[in-house]
């Protein structure tokens, strides 16, 4: 029997602001601007939104959405505090809400002033998930994600021979894709040599292994599949979706295996719900807070075995035209950092055939992942309906 969530919900609308470094707008304004764009893209009125999942902490809360959009009858307000895994995990929450009839149209929205507002270390101090890191690791000089995740990357290199050259390949291919997209922060080509010459942040991560600090907003609307069919854009249904939480979720240091992210648990559930596997994917949008994070997730997702992620990304395999194009919009590394909601937007665009110069030919099935906090994971598998 098919899973009760499968194909019951759809991504009906997508919206983004310009991705920039510097903006006079507040995080809330960016979040609402993207929300209005997503609602219009779906062919809905703001009054139709009856559920909201704002990214938290940061940006607006349900009250702001009611006040600004004049929502007449909000039936669901949720936070999904999973850092970078939030947006895709929120798709699961929203899909549950529409599949059960609690809501018809749920808005997921992010607004972020990561460049012009508080920077990463300051921002994370608001996160209850970072309390252990604040008590035990910040005092010894470890707090930023680049530092905390670097130790896992180093261990992967020591155990499997993964190289900086392979990290660079992810950065360079992602940049090449970004240049095809009109709305990106980084629009100049990047070479392997430039990657290797960029300054070291937290070994083994160099500057170009790290995602951007940028300003921008992004939003999507999740609708009941039967309602979405009658809306403005081609139907993109949610085939499978899941979130997963690793052992020792608030402390990477105490995790038995540093490389076992929440995606280890989420991916098999999503594949099973969708009734598909990795070899069925036409493309993948992989959460890329760091180049290495992409390499490890490709392993966890079953595109290759553990330890083979480094070689897997070489030889054009992950580029447009390759076996598995990834991050066709430029990702967090080159497009902008809106906590990965831009990945879900790009996958939807690809499946609608709206991806312009970056269009993967005949894209019908793809996946998007989220990765956050100390290794929470999320995944959604989307399909263009016949």
């Amino acid at each position: 029997m098919a899973h009760p969530l499968r194909e019951k919900a759809a991504v009906s609308g997508i919206g983004e602001t310009a991705y920039t470094r510097g903006t006079p707008k507040s995080g809330l304004a960016l979040q609402l601007e993207a929300s209005l764009a997503a609602i219009a893209d779906a062919g809905l009125s703001p009054r139709d939104i009856d559920g909201v999942v704002p990214y938290f902490p940061g940006g607006g809360i349900a009250e702001d959405f009611i006040a600004n959009l004049g929502l007449p009858d909000l039936k669901l307000s949720l936070f999904v505090p999973m850092g970078g895994a939030t947006c895709v995990a929120a798709i699961q929450s929203a899909a549950m809400a529409v599949a059960t009839g609690v809501c018809n149209h749920v808005l997921i929205a992010v607004g972020r002033t990561g460049y012009s507002g508080a920077r990463v270390s300051t921002r994370l101090q608001q996160f209850p998930q970072f309390a252990l890191a604040a008590e035990f690791e910040a005092p010894i000089g470890m707090f930023a994600p680049a530092q905390l995740y670097a130790q896992g990357a180093r261990r992967h290199m020591e155990l499997y021979g993964t190289t900086a050259r392979q990290f660079a390949e992810v950065a360079v291919v992602t940049r090449r894709h970004a240049i095809l997209n009109g709305n990106v922060v980084m629009n100049k080509p990047l070479t392997v040599e430039e990657h290797h010459a960029s300054r070291m942040i937290a070994d083994p991560f160099r500057l170009f292994d790290c995602s951007l600090e940028s300003d921008g907003g992004a939003a999507i609307v999740i609708s009941r599949a039967d309602r979405a069919r009658d809306l403005r854009k081609p139907l993109v249904t949610i085939m499978g979706v899941a979130e997963g939480h690793p052992e020792s979720p608030a402390s990477i240091a105490q995790r038995p295996d540093l490389l076992e992210f929440g995606l280890v648990k989420a991916a098999p559930r999503a594949y099973s719900m969708a009734g598909v596997g990795p070899t069925d994917m036409d493309l993948a949008e992989i959460y890329d807070c760091f180049t290495f994070t992409v390499i490890r997730q490709l392993e966890i997702l079953g595109f290759c075995k553990t330890g083979e992620g480094g070689p897997f990304v070489m030889d054009g395999r992950i580029a447009l035209g390759g076996d598995l194009p990834i991050n066709t919009h430029g990702g967090l590394l080159s497009q902008g950092h809106v906590v990965g909601l831009n990945h879900a937007i790009e996958l939807t665009r690809q499946l609608r055939g709206e991806a312009g110069k970056a269009q993967v030919k005949d894209a019908e099935l793809g996946l998007v992942t989220g990765y956050g906090d100390m290794g929470d994971g999320s995944i959604a598998i989307l399909r263009r309906a016949a």
Binding site: A118, M142, F143, E158
Partner: protein
């Protein structure tokens, strides 16, 4: 135009909780104190109210051996907090302690080229002020 306030160049210090106070008290006395379940005896770190193995809420802190082996490491070059600008670059080693938990702390007196998984190190104590002592590692 919204602009971020400049981060204060203060040293981030631990704010002990009711659960973790005995660990930090131990550090101040130069003793590596770890929380053990009073019911099943298993060690847990970081300190927390419930044993995840047997769900007992009774626990005690016991002094633990300070040796261990490097599990992995990073070398911090960019000081995300201004306080660490002077120290950078510095090695932070994640160590599998003989006591059965991991500790993340700066590793001193070891060259980057000599870092490897499994290298033996031992925990040492650095008083920061009257209340706070922080751990660091040296070669065993």
């Amino acid at each position: 135009m919204s602009t971020a306030p400049a981060p204060a160049p203060e040293r981030p210090l631990p704010v002990p909780t009711r659960e973790s106070q005995p660990f930090w008290d131990g550090m101040r006395e130069g003793r590596f104190m770890l929380q053990h379940c009073s019911s099943c005896g298993k060690v847990r770190h970081y300190p927390r109210p419930v044993c995840p193995h047997c769900f007992s809420m009774d626990s005690e802190f016991r002094e633990a051996p300070t040796g261990g082996m490097i599990h992995t490491w990073t070398v911090c070059h960019h000081p995300f907090n201004f306080f660490f600008k002077q120290a950078a670059p510095y090695i932070v080693a994640l160590v599998d302690m003989d006591a059965g938990v991991r500790v993340n702390a700066p590793l001193r007196g070891v060259a980057e080229a000599d870092l490897r998984i499994g290298k033996r190190v031992k925990l040492a104590f650095e008083p920061i002020n009257k209340e706070v002592t922080l751990p660091f590692f040296v070669s065993e």
